[in-house]
Symmetry: C2
Subunit: 366 residues, 2 copies
Amino acid sequence: MHTPQAISNFSGGPGALAPIVLQKASQALLALPETGISVLGMSHRSDWFRQLLDQAENNIRTLLDVPSHYHVLFLQGGGSLQFNMIAMNFARGQGTRADYLQTGYWSAKAVDAVRAQTQVHLAWNGANSGYARLPKSEEMSWSARPSYVHYVDNETVEGLEFNRVAGLVDAPLMCDMSSNLMSRPVDVSAYDLIYAHAQKNLGPAGVTVVIVKDDLVQTANAGLPAVLDYRTHIKARSIYNTPPVFAIYVLKEVTQWLLDDVGGLEKMAAINQQKSQLLYRTLDELSDFYKPHAQREDRSRMNCTFDLVNQKLLKQWLTQAQDQQLWGLEGHRSLGGIRASLYNAVSLQDVQKLSQFLKNFAQENA
Amino acid sequence: MHTPQAISNFSGGPGALAPIVLQKASQALLALPETGISVLGMSHRSDWFRQLLDQAENNIRTLLDVPSHYHVLFLQGGGSLQFNMIAMNFARGQGTRADYLQTGYWSAKAVDAVRAQTQVHLAWNGANSGYARLPKSEEMSWSARPSYVHYVDNETVEGLEFNRVAGLVDAPLMCDMSSNLMSRPVDVSAYDLIYAHAQKNLGPAGVTVVIVKDDLVQTANAGLPAVLDYRTHIKARSIYNTPPVFAIYVLKEVTQWLLDDVGGLEKMAAINQQKSQLLYRTLDELSDFYKPHAQREDRSRMNCTFDLVNQKLLKQWLTQAQDQQLWGLEGHRSLGGIRASLYNAVSLQDVQKLSQFLKNFAQENA
């Protein structure tokens, strides 16, 4: 049998998950300890699943200290469907516009996705600067009364991450935290709607967490297809239609691991800080050899993007990394270069191995 | 460790899966033999996943003999999202209507789901007859030129199943085969669009298979959100956004099991025939004691619904069944009574156990 621990998985997503979670899930596929049958054969209308869903929700509420006037939902369709559900539910028709920060690949996708549904105003657009930095507060130019504001808290492709709440206008604030939710504490009350697909820090691809303020939901547009209306899922407590049972099961185990093994998000944040600092420090020390993409103050703790000064060595670098069990390091196809994703389940040891490899490779090819 | 084989799972869905599939999936969660890392940590942009997706598609094409001018897609959102995607893509606006057969709980849900999107004409409505039978061809009254026709091939709640292609008008034919696709051969060319969520005969909840004719797709409405437009997913070959990697992995293993272990859909159909015949025969022989819901010629091979003549014994029946490791037999909350779902992975032995229990219980309580 292969030992998964031998490989360090720096994939941009779906990302690595903690070994203890994988072991529990592996057992649950054969037979759940509580029921004796496979988790894949459990009805979503069973008491077992209702308890699982409640536990998953409670874990999220505990970890993020979610106020009671926010709903926690488990949906399908990923971030891409959220792009459109937000516009369907909260864009306000003729004469109104929604404000977006366009800070990278994913926020640009969000903007493209909704253009048929609402007029969009870009309060900032980083395209011309190659998405190498985030806007300062004074650079953002908001509409007078946008129907809502949308931004992406962490751009996985370019490796940019906000270290503050970015929307400052008097409008509902929607935030895509797909790639950094659960990596640090969040002041949920600063947002009206937060969403995150699971496949970075939460679990397997196929389930999306939405945390939405009750006040906001009460204002959703009428006449929507039920399955695309947040109110439907709130009323049905996430089982309007069959939910992705297995993905939610794993998400519950991941949040349990964060609570019981890691000890909460303050501790997770400290570990993540240590990991990314080590990696960026290594790159900065070898600046003759490696070239980080993001401007220093906007560097993502989750996705570290860089290139080789001598790009001709890139292929060799990637091949040697893979040979040394350092996986998933190829940059996103839109940016090229190298991307090391340091999601929660990537350990400090994994990053130490990568850091050592960065040094060795630089030395050998100096 | 619990042995899943000891329990017979007659759940209405998510349903049982073959033990060999569960074993492979359990191992894959720890480490895929091909890559050494967990299936949950595999990137959907990897060669491994592209091959997996191709293999899953090829298996479906082989099993169902899908003509080459049909696309095979793997989507999220279940049957409920398909209800609306069909209307969004193919309903034709003012003055037009779409024809639906309302034959039970699920087709009624489909009708409700799209009322805001299109005018609906019910070519038949079985509500008044308690959804105890399907319409005969001469009972269906079609519109002159509906934008499309929609029906549900197998009603899981009531246990009704078509044994023929039902739409006979010159209009695109959309069919929900969520609960019986892969249980028997299908003449795909008779339909324009077939969809099925996975959690009955295909795999875990969280992935939905759509088989759609290229001619039809070319006529889809303009201006749709990309993620809700079939053309987006065809162009992106099902990885427009991150797909549910694990659910597709299991689906591939299920279709592989159908091909290699079962030997194809003719053989699967023969086994399913044997299973349902045994169960219905047992019920018919004990007609003083048990009361099948569906009219004989419309009985579903997948979901056998019945009640006790003496309904006071129902609770006792369900408790004793559970004690004897016969699981998931409670009827859907909308109909009550008993439902035995006989999806592909339910074995003839499982049905023999159930049949014996039916006899014993009747004798003991005569």
